[in-house]
Amino acid sequence: MAAISTASSQKDTHSFFARLKRVTKSYTFRVVIQGIVTIWLATTFTFFLIRLLPGNPISIKIDQLMQQGYTLEEAENQAATLYDFNPDQPVLEQYIVYLGKLLRGDLGESITSAGTSVSQQILRFLPWTLISVGTGLFISFSLGMLLGIMIAYWRGGLLDNVVTALASVLSGIPDYVFAILIILVAGVQLQLFNVGEMRGGVNPNIEAGFTLEYIASIIKHAFLPITTYVLATIGVWTLSMKSSTIATLGEDYINVAKARGLSEWRILTAYVGRNAMLPLVTRLAISIGFVLSGSVIVERYFEYPGLGFQLARAVGSRDYTTMQGIFLVITVAVVVSNILADLMLSWLDPRVTLEEK
């Protein structure tokens, strides 16, 4: 019986259905479908959610104008025609229209800046978040790994005690506190840098381009937010890496490698480091997704033109379409970074094969 079934299953592989079955079972297919479904669900959820927010773009605008000293009459008349938004349209109808556009890759126009597409806005602001958050995460992850390995390898030493204590302290403080403290202490009190010059994403009078000056300016401006992100997250990475490394150090292959006379560097990197970082990769991916949405407060303090900054503005003015677009970006980022984590894990760890997962 077994003989027959194996033989026939080999024949099957050529039929159309078998191929279809293989496709539906393949990693890529599954991941893509799952990702799309998740994104759709999350999008739908947020769509209805944000329309439950009190106030709508028009009334918010009126109140803003009046805050600037316009009379109600003026403010209302101005605001009423400012936006192409009909608050009385049924939400379901809005949703269907939105979804239809989304399927065509159209994120719609910003409500509070008629004529500007949400994609334009996202293209404008996303890179800055990516630069700052990405670099921050990269630095804190790599530095945390390095420190973690080091203090685990020389555990019990002075370095270990100092770094562990410091990491514990750092991991106990929220990021926005770092943002405030950096500005206040380093900027205003100690005057270590010029607060004004450090704001924004790049110097205003620099030509955008692939020039040294431009890049230097980007780095300079991203410095403070990056420092904030690094300070806020490095402790956790260091401590996690430490415990992961300690676990790895107990493995036989490390002892064998030592006995084989390998250089300490080689052992530390290819044998300890690579194995110890495996459990951290998944967590790295999760954080990538989350920092995008978590940077609201920090970006606000540094006037950093990232997605969080724009999101805060959009929420404040109830710019539904922009909010929706940014939420979509964040959702996609979470989904994509999870996939990336899988890929990275399968690249780092040959035991993981995606097809089987």
Partner: protein
């Protein structure tokens, strides 16, 4: 043996679904376990010994085929009876470190089943029973043991606790899954002897799972051995018959490969060379006789075509699953 078997496995198949791949672990197992007998399951790692043991102990269900307990299927019993039947089949695990909950004292470990199944009345009787059980498995003085946590005991002591725990519910059958392979050589025999004693005392049947043939031989000298290969039983019969006169090529290879604790004996042994060292994966079991790619007596066109069934071969007392043998042919080395 005309006795009513305790457990009967009729054409049992078992497979596991792992990451969307179906792994056929057991195929077409026919096996009876009789009261008070010793049955040894031997075979290489991953051949399905534990799975068989768990099916016997009703810890796992068969995917296909019938399992009868006392002649009836589990489903035919009512709730109460089922619980009783379950309890009559106990399993002793291989790893004495993992089989005792580190959070409980030995007294608690033994006390829970006693209390749960109302085997005792009152605290005094509970303590008396625990005492008896510990004495029974040679953990004396019991007072030293009851209040200890598992991590405070040695491996051998823990294994004894496991056995005592199995005894709390008055079982009829104990499946000892590699019960001594993780305890020290020097104390293995002690535990095995104790198992034998308990068997006599309580009329127990013991299914002894091991990969150590010498140990199997020692323990089941009066009983039976079933040799498994890739999810099938390839040979089953009285221990003495199999050891003296192994039929299946796989059994022969095994027996010839085992080193002996005696320099003269072991250096004189002639191992039967296999055609390949590679064990096929369960997901790609060779067609026909699963052993044929490695079998030194492989007969093309016979062995790789149809699956052999257990049957008595001429000249052998035991049952074996080898087509050439059961059809009365002589085994000739492949290629000659």
């Amino acid at each position: 043996m005309s006795q009513q078997p305790l457990v009967e496995l009729h054409g049992v198949y078992r497979s596991f679904e792992k990451e969307r791949v179906r792994i056929p672990v057991l195929q077409d197992i026919h096996l009876n376990v009789y009261p008070n007998e010793v049955l040894c399951l031997v075979g290489e790692s991953g051949c399905g010994k534990t799975t068989t043991g768990k099916i016997i102990a009703s810890l796992l269900d068969a995917s296909e085929g019938e399992v009868l307990y006392n002649g009836r299927r589990m489903a035919e019993y009512d709730r109460k009876e089922r619980s009783l039947i379950r309890r009559q089949m106990q399993l002793v695990h291989q790893d004495p470190f993992a089989s005792l909950n580190p959070a409980h004292t030995i007294g608690q470990i033994l006390g829970y089943p006693l209390k749960r199944h109302k085997m005792v009345n009152g605290r005094a009787e509970l303590r008396r029973r625990i005492w008896e059980l510990l004495t029974l498995v040679d953990l004396t003085p019991p007072g030293d043991i009851v209040n200890k946590f598992p991590h405070q005991l040695s491996g051998g002591q823990r294994q004894r606790v496991s056995i005592a725990r199995a005894l709390t519910v008055n079982p009829k059958l104990i499946v000892a899954d590699e019960a001594v392979s993780m305890v020290d050589v020097s104390i293995r025999i002690g535990i095995l002897k104790m198992l034998h004693n308990l068997r006599d005392m309580f009329n127990l049947a013991i299914v002894f799972i091991t990969h150590d043939l010498a140990l199997a031989k020692y323990f089941a000298w009066e009983g039976r051995i079933a040799v498994m290969y890739l999810g099938r039983i390839v040979e089953i019969g009285r221990t003495q018959d199999i050891i003296a006169n192994p039929a299946h090529p796989y059994t022969r290879a095994l027996l010839s490969a085992v080193p002996e604790a005696d320099p003269n004996l072991t250096r004189k042994k002639q191992p039967i060379p296999l055609r390949s060292d590679e064990i096929p994966r369960l997901t790609a079991i060779p067609p026909g006789c699963a052993f044929h790619p490695r079998c030194p007596f492989y007969q093309p066109g016979v062995c790789d075509v149809s699956v052999p069934r257990l049957a008595q071969a001429p000249g052998y007392a035991q049952d074996t699953a080898c087509i050439p043998l059961t059809t009365g042919e002589q085994l000739v080395p492949y290629g000659t």
